[in-house]
Chain length 253, copies 8
Amino acid sequence: MSKQLKDVLNRLSRHEISVAQAADQLADQTFSDLDFAKIDLERHQRTGYPEVIYGQGKSIEQIVQIMRDLKQAGQTILVTRVSKHQATGILKQFPNATYHATGRCLTDVSQTPPLTSSTIAILTAGTTDIPVAEEAAVTAELYGNRVDRIYDVGVAGLQRLLANIEVVRKAKVVIVIAGMEGALVSVVGGLVNKPVIAVPTSVGYGTSFKGVTALLTMLNSCAAGVTVVNIDNGFGAAYSASMINHLGGKNGD
Amino acid sequence: MSKQLKDVLNRLSRHEISVAQAADQLADQTFSDLDFAKIDLERHQRTGYPEVIYGQGKSIEQIVQIMRDLKQAGQTILVTRVSKHQATGILKQFPNATYHATGRCLTDVSQTPPLTSSTIAILTAGTTDIPVAEEAAVTAELYGNRVDRIYDVGVAGLQRLLANIEVVRKAKVVIVIAGMEGALVSVVGGLVNKPVIAVPTSVGYGTSFKGVTALLTMLNSCAAGVTVVNIDNGFGAAYSASMINHLGGKNGD
Amino acid sequence: MSKQLKDVLNRLSRHEISVAQAADQLADQTFSDLDFAKIDLERHQRTGYPEVIYGQGKSIEQIVQIMRDLKQAGQTILVTRVSKHQATGILKQFPNATYHATGRCLTDVSQTPPLTSSTIAILTAGTTDIPVAEEAAVTAELYGNRVDRIYDVGVAGLQRLLANIEVVRKAKVVIVIAGMEGALVSVVGGLVNKPVIAVPTSVGYGTSFKGVTALLTMLNSCAAGVTVVNIDNGFGAAYSASMINHLGGKNGD
Amino acid sequence: MSKQLKDVLNRLSRHEISVAQAADQLADQTFSDLDFAKIDLERHQRTGYPEVIYGQGKSIEQIVQIMRDLKQAGQTILVTRVSKHQATGILKQFPNATYHATGRCLTDVSQTPPLTSSTIAILTAGTTDIPVAEEAAVTAELYGNRVDRIYDVGVAGLQRLLANIEVVRKAKVVIVIAGMEGALVSVVGGLVNKPVIAVPTSVGYGTSFKGVTALLTMLNSCAAGVTVVNIDNGFGAAYSASMINHLGGKNGD
Amino acid sequence: MSKQLKDVLNRLSRHEISVAQAADQLADQTFSDLDFAKIDLERHQRTGYPEVIYGQGKSIEQIVQIMRDLKQAGQTILVTRVSKHQATGILKQFPNATYHATGRCLTDVSQTPPLTSSTIAILTAGTTDIPVAEEAAVTAELYGNRVDRIYDVGVAGLQRLLANIEVVRKAKVVIVIAGMEGALVSVVGGLVNKPVIAVPTSVGYGTSFKGVTALLTMLNSCAAGVTVVNIDNGFGAAYSASMINHLGGKNGD
Amino acid sequence: MSKQLKDVLNRLSRHEISVAQAADQLADQTFSDLDFAKIDLERHQRTGYPEVIYGQGKSIEQIVQIMRDLKQAGQTILVTRVSKHQATGILKQFPNATYHATGRCLTDVSQTPPLTSSTIAILTAGTTDIPVAEEAAVTAELYGNRVDRIYDVGVAGLQRLLANIEVVRKAKVVIVIAGMEGALVSVVGGLVNKPVIAVPTSVGYGTSFKGVTALLTMLNSCAAGVTVVNIDNGFGAAYSASMINHLGGKNGD
Amino acid sequence: MSKQLKDVLNRLSRHEISVAQAADQLADQTFSDLDFAKIDLERHQRTGYPEVIYGQGKSIEQIVQIMRDLKQAGQTILVTRVSKHQATGILKQFPNATYHATGRCLTDVSQTPPLTSSTIAILTAGTTDIPVAEEAAVTAELYGNRVDRIYDVGVAGLQRLLANIEVVRKAKVVIVIAGMEGALVSVVGGLVNKPVIAVPTSVGYGTSFKGVTALLTMLNSCAAGVTVVNIDNGFGAAYSASMINHLGGKNGD
Amino acid sequence: MSKQLKDVLNRLSRHEISVAQAADQLADQTFSDLDFAKIDLERHQRTGYPEVIYGQGKSIEQIVQIMRDLKQAGQTILVTRVSKHQATGILKQFPNATYHATGRCLTDVSQTPPLTSSTIAILTAGTTDIPVAEEAAVTAELYGNRVDRIYDVGVAGLQRLLANIEVVRKAKVVIVIAGMEGALVSVVGGLVNKPVIAVPTSVGYGTSFKGVTALLTMLNSCAAGVTVVNIDNGFGAAYSASMINHLGGKNGD
């Protein structure tokens, strides 16, 4: 039973609230209803993470309206998959926001979180994987994680990876981002004993099938300790990595 | 540069070993060569995890021979995907080993690891997902994790999940195992703020496509914090979960 | 044997028409032949539903010509998948028609049907599913159904759905529209005991495969009482839902 | 807010129960926990439909144990996908149960529901589709529906369908079951103006792809009013059809 | 309007039959209703081709019962996809029938059709394609076609094909049967100017995907004049080829 | 042995040509070598059909250059898949050529072939299938076939097909063109006893998968006598149909 | 023009043979016609490689008959994909033949070819890939190549590969055999500058899709110099590798 | 152990360098770190091949920057998949570079390699395959290979191939490039006894699936000696072919 439910029941039992009020409170909407969207205004409080807006397919007006609501609720805002065109429109309304062009993210920070002492290492196999990596890096940094970027270290030139392996090994969690054949994740997974989160990218041509091949490679990785997210999902990898990076030795709360 | 490399170079520099010996040592095989297999005898030391044998497609003789090598190296052994027939054959040679029939695993523990105070919660959507869940549970317990099993809580009967949600919420990492449509992971991912590792299972018929549908559902989960492993890969999920469950607040080593 | 056939045979038997006339009438075209299209002018009479024009891939001229024929036959007209460009062209010829921009539909009502007392509930998981939902809503309302719109209630924030569940429960039939992983349908299917029609949408990226993942999830739903239509087929879902919503307790005719 | 929640809150408010009791009751398990399964004992009361056991992949012992629990709760039982071998084992424990060999179902009726006056028509394209049709028919009859069986009326011999069309037309809802190319559903959908539920079957060879082709045909049916269920899912089609067949003219409850 | 319809109408017009009788006759079943199957007893008269029974998935009893009905109607019978086990059972009841083991067909000829002067050439790429070729050959011969068999002439050894090309060229229609990469059809299509019907076979391994690769090759053949049937569908190819082979110079009837 | 080979050998044997000349002549190129293309200048003589240029992906210059060569060889020319832009460019060079806009074909007739007495019937299920149908019709007419166009007779409105069935039945070969679910071919195949060539089209949305669903439906058609060509391949269907329509009762040559 | 053609023409020109004889000789079958198979008796002479029999799907009798023909022609014989059961049957007839159980090959050597000085290195990622590797090794050795076997060196334990890299580097051509994610090929391709032939294997489970994932990985390898063969096609890889290994510095013949 | 490692160890052993320097040198980056890319400056020395830049998805600035680094290192440069737009931008900075428009490659040669006496034959099935062929030809020539281009020799007109077969046969390695059904490779593979590298192209429509069909055909080729690269990968085929063409009779180095 959740704490909130217990509270409501206790207050009802003490006659501090009526049955109707209890019912109301249990059904209480902790989100703002914008007709086209129901925005979670207590997400930060509930999960420790700001609400995230997936920008693709939304109009500038819709994004601006959602950002206003979140802003009023005092939340830090992250918008992912923001085109240059969308960003220009949004920045007119939110001049203090920042557009991260490579990672196609827009952030508006209300309060800077404390920085972790441990790091998340973000690796890419090639240069064309960098936009996904930057989406991950911006997300991870917004959530207060130290990030080490190690880009363009694909396995066809193993020496590039080995020259950077110590930075990878000292991270608490590793994100490996690769398109085409995605083999980097197995090599990294065999060289470190930390959780590895693999992100396939839609980079490639022909039988890369817009990332499906890299995804399959990663799901079949013979290196244990690897988990996978959706194609191009830099945000999702960083979100999970941040959760792990923030885990202390104590029991879950 | 790895510690081992540094050591070899230092000893060479101090003339304690010759160039040839240094070269030998750098190439030194930390694995046993069985002709048909190269067995990693220092995996436990290097990664903190015992070597794992994937039993499917191996003869009883091959498994027994690998187990002998690992046993001599003093390692705890986990064999996954072991049929009843294989288990019977192996147990004749290793009478102290244990066969976990539901999870199709065989273990032979040389030293029991200390138990974590935090827990891994393992959920299944249905009863036919339990073999995969038990593969995960046996793996996690062998690696010293406390495990909470919460089986048959699929979303079609939401009350079954909600009645157990507090146990899920207090876990440090959650494994969600589901076949068919795999929707459980999104609901769980929305209710907890811990890393969730999703395992699609090959349970189902028709368009379940032997787990592909559940896999796709999980990769597309709208709940942040979810990562995914291969279909039926209970071992892989538990391995990652154990890594995360053992992470303390300190920097990586 | 259909009533029309019986009539023709009776009149032939009474010598009111000749054999040739009977043959003619049996083959009688109840459609208008436009060379490029054969339009069903008696559909409304036969099925109780207006003829529907699928606008995509048709020229403005073709749509206008078909509308003219239907209009002359006194039919209410629904054109689906109409782009803004097509709509502008059509509205010049049919200034009394209405373009529903979000749902990409154009309607020209000749007679308003009586409104049902029972309702159809239309749910979406996210905001980008709304165009498909509006195609469904416009269709359902055109066919005389009361509609309740409940948008952006995806399962990752279960409280948004639960806050609206009573409206869903009192509907006679429920349409659930979702892209990405499509898990909403299983949760709704578990919470109501009414027919649920699921519409996968092409919303998403990567392994959402333009709606295929949501489709598969819905087909595999562990909740009984769920049936599925083609990806983005808001019209089809509403058509079926309207049929069901209009069913009384009496036998079929 | 559900009636149950309201009741608990009212009784708490009237001090008839303590806070702890209220919390208990809200979390109250309306299911029996069998370790490997959580059985919904109030499903019949809640949904009007008996609990259904999916037999495939379950041991005879598991099925028997679940049936015992349901039996004690006074529920009518339906087990689907029961092999002859499983049936023999179950019937030893439940001699009053009935095994429907063609439809691979096992039923144990505790109370016969009243029969509907309206009918469900169940059509198959070929003779090899009959097992799926019988699964649907047994399910529908168990739920109190009159059923008309019209088998082997595939479109390659259109006269077979037309000779039976009046029976189809007077049904309140129609189930069309077909493998191979699944074209029957479009023809039927064009001839009736009742909801049509299509069931693809895994019958066929080569590019029938175990029912995927029939599924795709049905999803793309140009006849409006068609919805689709998973391949071979006769039970699911009947469940939805029964819901529709039982709908009266009154509002949903 | 069909001749049958005209007849009924004429007789009704002449008062030879009543309206009710006319309706009855129009719905008249030209098929035998066996409960599990509706057998087309006039197919031979209507199409010039005997009724065909697809044996796979049918019990020996079902096949025997259908054969009895066809036999009574004086029809020649072809049963395809008959296993050795099925054949043994059927031959006990129909000792005069013939089982063609390689082509897995069973025939029972009531009257031998006249033989065509023109030929159908049936080519296979390899030896493992021969069962499908024999299904085609038996079918074609049963329908009164002269057949030339040219087996094992795959393109990797072009000289084998070229040594037989004159026999191919003098055929009126050519059937090309190939698995694996299916390239034979393009080479043959380029060398003859007769209709070529291509049959992919499920022969092969790995990426032959049980005939899908051969099917795709054939559909994409750069040689004009090629049409394709389902994987392993020797019967279907022969049926079409026989239709073409029997076409004279006169108009269609 | 081909006639050409025989001739060369005869002339060599009679010392009319030298060994070198014989070798030259056997290797003699019956095509024009344009560097980027090898054009078959004797195709008409060899196969009775003009050379066809597939326009898509070729520059206007390339098409013009190939047409020049064919023109010089006195051949009738058919260019398929010609965009409006390409057509405009080509017509400047070949003002006597004709562009068939709906069928996206361009023809330049050098000599009109005699017209067949028998017909090819071309059916489409919908109006958006017409471009493919016109590609087929233009091709068939260019090759001297009488063509009957019967468009927009999809099975959802069976009466539209039945009203035209006599025209279909009197054709010598039938082409059925359909997208979406492609069911028309099975119904037609069941109603006629002539060869039916099915053309799937890329018309549709969602799970129509750009024609793959219609293709699969057609390959699985339960009506015998159906063969299939590639998606949108109106030309290929007409080429095969023309071959069949021109077949007389005599043996192959 | 081939030498054979020239010879025939010369002899015809010198009147040593008649035109008819020339025609005969040009069509001369350099293969034995066994009714079910056309066997290439001059393959060894023509290509330098013995004829190979693909054993799967052939009866023992068929294989024996083909071997007899080849044996009489003095050829060395290789049969691939031979089951233990088939081998036993064949060895009864050819007691001097050798069955290679792991590689499922059967060889009967008529003359031992000279051994190459350069080597082919054959690597596998795991132990379950060894049957495919042995098919390759037996084939390569039969064709006179020195072979180095380096098994179980998957990238998850990179040190196993690096310890053997010098043997790999000194090979003239490298065969890399891997299932699951197939990443080994990219790492090897980056470490050597010799042609690498990759063989995906059907080893794995879940999303390994019976070798498709490994195949896709290999086709997308970011390492240049990699080409790929069909899943499990050890023979094909060895055949190509042998061709390359035998290439000298001279021009092609 | 590599030569470089040996050198470093020797110098350390001779006290020419310190332990720290040895460690530094072992980790020494033989690549230039551009932040967004790690460029291999010694690739030419190490592999004998220039570094290749994959142009697609890179900005003109990124390509120019990488070219500068390579230029400074004295390397010959090949950029593949360069659009006309990119080429214009690059040529402004590197006026001595050459843009090969058909093959979409850009080269900047620092030193011309010696030309091989043996040749690589490059064949295409059609004219639309030529861009891929030119990518291969430019690559092969840049690497010092003689190249014979034999374009538009698809199997539907076998005489076009046979007229050129002698040029193909005298090559040391053959590249076969084909889209649509890809059958050319099997015919060529059967006519030559040299290594054949097959390149599927994305040319085609409908079920050509952007090259997948051609790829599958090639992987399933019944002609031994064929290996395959990714769709449209002309560069990769040429790279492998060049490796093979440069192989002498001597052992690997």
